[in-house]
Symmetry: C2
Subunit: 459 residues, 2 copies
């Protein structure tokens, strides 16, 4: 890496209007580092910086900015500057930006593109959101079966300049139907007279443009490729998807799942960028829903008020009992949801999972029960905290813990299956959701056990 330019130095150069130096120093950085540096400036200053750069370089830098920053910058640029950059952007990055813009701005910008790029942009925007079509690029090279290696190399030399990848070339027939792919390595290693049809590998993997992006992730994960072709319903080659975009999808999906697991709506924007109002809204919805659900605990507790007034000591263990159910449920739900997300567990595995979780729940419940009983016993040796019937109380707590932990583990592991079966994202059964569900039943289990064990003594 070359000597690093700081944002302070860049600001000074900008103030001194030393455009030559700015251009020289930005050019010496990688596009990613330049973008990082430029991002620290205000949109208006950014627009000024971009005007100093040759269009090709400006576009490269622009593509490395996060979509939110691109959006602000597009607003700060004149229409002509914006159109110039959009025209030169690679189609997949452009689609990612356009779909974030307000419809009117998007339409105006698409209108200002060159006719060729406008057609490409409109075609990609025509695919549904989160479909593979939206992440495609049209920058690939096609070959014909009857060409030889020399003709391919000549074709690359004359048409390869703007293509996103030359690592894999696509063989199509006269109607544009995808026939196979050829890796550039095969062309390079082959004698110059070898025919394309003898170099292709005959095992073609392709994606379908209207499919969900998750299926693209699954295909890249399974086949370890860096690029895959995309076809339409008739097998016609319509674009390619590259693995760097897949990396982004994987991270986004993990973020969505994690946020849902934390008991809120997915943010869809970076934490530091989202407005406070939206941040609160995304959290309030679930928090209120959980609160209303949790109100059932007050109703349940209300029913047991008589028991509590007879044996106040029962109330003392309520938080301990219900939180143990919540924690074990949260563990089970998290495990299953993640295993589903990465394809380790499918709907048909529910029975296998249930057996595992019944065993786990029983063992975990037993462990906690033993600790809980020991705690009460030891305390009772040295104090009078739990009264003369401490042993019965210990038994009540122990049995309840086994029941509650088993129930938590079972609900936590089965709820994701139920949701998935109903067509709802399993990640919705978040740790807090399961905990709330288990809290109410946990109380009922606890007071039911107490009713049996303590009948005639404390109750």
């Amino acid at each position: 890496m070359s000597t690093k330019l700081t944002s302070r130095e860049l600001a000074e150069l900008l103030e001194a209007r030393n455009f030559m130096a700015i251009r020289a120093s930005l050019t010496a950085l990688t596009p990613a580092d330049s973008a990082e540096l430029i991002e620290e400036f205000e949109p208006a200053e950014q627009a000024a910086l971009f005007r100093l750069l040759p269009m090709q370089l400006a576009t490269e830098f622009f593509e490395y900015l996060p979509v939110e920053a691109q959006e602000e910058l597009i607003h700060a640029m004149g229409n002509e500057q914006a159109a110039g950059i959009l025209d030169a952007m690679s189609p997949d990055d452009r689609t990612a930006l356009l779909e974030e813009l307000p419809t009117a701005v998007c339409a105006r910008l698409v209108e200002s593109l060159s006719p060729k790029e406008r057609a490409v942009a409109l075609r990609l925007l025509d695919y549904p959101e989160n479909s593979i079509g939206r992440m495609m690029t049209s920058e690939y090279l096609t070959l014909r079966d009857e060409w030889n290696a020399r003709e391919v190399l000549d074709h690359i030399r004359s048409h390869g300049r703007d293509r996103e990848t030359l690592n894999v070339l696509y063989v199509v027939d006269a109607l544009g139907k995808l026939v196979d792919e050829v890796r550039i390595r095969e062309i390079l290693l082959a004698p110059l007279e070898a025919k394309v049809k003898d170099l292709r590998n005959d095992v073609l993997i392709s994606l379908t443009a209207t499919d969900d992006q998750e299926s693209a992730v699954a295909a890249f994960r399974k086949y370890d490729r860096t690029v895959l072709p995309v076809v339409d319903g008739h097998g016609g080659l319509v674009g390619i998807v590259t693995v760097d975009d897949i990396l982004d999808v994987v991270e986004e999906e993990a973020t969505e799942d994690i946020q849902k697991l934390g008991g809120m709506e997915q943010l869809d924007e970076p934490y530091m960028d989202i407005s406070l109002a939206r941040l609160v809204k995304k959290r309030a919805t679930w928090l209120v829903f959980l609160f209303v659900g949790e109100m059932l605990t007050a109703t349940a507790m209300g029913h047991f008020q008589d028991d509590i007034s007879k044996a106040v000591i029962l109330a003392v263990f309520v938080p301990l009992i219900i939180s143990s159910g919540g924690n074990s449920g949260s563990q089970a739900a998290t495990l299953i949801i993640r295993a589903m997300a990465i394809g380790e567990v499918g709907l048909r595995d529910w029975w296998k999972v249930m057996r595992r979780e019944i065993f786990s729940g029983l063992v975990l419940g037993l462990i906690l029960a033993v600790i809980g009983i020991l705690r009460i016993a030891v305390w009772s040796l040295f104090s009078d905290a739990y009264g003369p019937h401490w042993l019965l109380i210990a038994v009540t707590v122990g049995i309840s813990l086994i029941g509650v932990v088993l129930w938590g583990t079972l609900s936590g592991s089965m709820l994701p299956f139920l949701l998935k079966r109903l067509g709802i994202d399993p990640a919705t059964s978040s740790a807090p959701f399961v905990a709330t569900l288990v809290d109410v039943t946990g109380l009922i289990i606890y007071f039911a056990v107490a009713g049996v064990v303590l009948r005639g003594t404390l109750l």
Copy 2:
């Protein structure tokens, strides 16, 4: 994709010892699909299937099996067969397998490799676990500055056969020091007489072999590359890392974080494959830790036993109050931990985050307080559930909710910063961990508020 062979058909072919047909039908599938099919068989049958295939193809299939399946299969194979496959594997996949094997098995297998591959394997295993060195491959091509495009193409034709990628070639000096990289596209597009030194891009990004794999992920995310070179402490080129391995690391890291967030140790193996004993152990540790922490709630409740016996109605709202704190804490912790993991939030942002969370906590607490007060008021209109002092109870619950939610939000968001500052993985401050922490303080807040508001009436 060709006509799909089912595992049943393959089993029949195997039983009929129709080796020609087996070989023909497996060859027609992609390696990933073949591996998926073969995975359904017992290790001994798998070993038999692999013996039928030419070594090159067997190795390709083998590389697509999950590491756990590879491990079982290696045990089922004879030493010679195993050595043959390991010898032909790409070095990065081989390291991933070897590091999973028991030390003795690993040593025996390394010993049986060809001298050349043994040296490579030992060199890679010498890097620390989770370091970039462990995910490197040595299958790259190097160039010299003074070569021209024609010489490069000749070099590729004679040495490129076994290289994992030909998309990027690396320019080294006479001492093996990495000078720059050249994309194959530049070579292909250039006139045949153009010199390498005029084709290289002069902005070199490289990884360091001893660095953590997370830094490789960060570099791939930032620079959108498909392959990056790795250097040692002296700048010497020692290997390359390809993006398909990065995809795996990203998924593994997300899985680890999600499991930690669910309140357990990371499993490190697929849910369906892990033994029940290990599964329970990974969960029991945290569950016991949380249980012991939660015992403080029993201690706290013990202190307020007198209050509860005077006003049993107080006990009724305990689960509602503490779970609201837990839920808001879980939201905040999840948000911050994920934002830290993907680099959106760093240690220095703590104050900015704190301001946002104080505001969010207050608003969220207010919303819940209003709902809680309304609930108590409405119930009191139609029943006598909360007695004559229902308004005071409503006020107690409302104020407590604001306090508890604010406190949950603050602890949930600040704990990850504290842990990170102490060098502990922030994901350790899981939803259940934060909930446990907030439960105890939530009780204290609630009874303290009750002590003030209800003094002279109920207490």
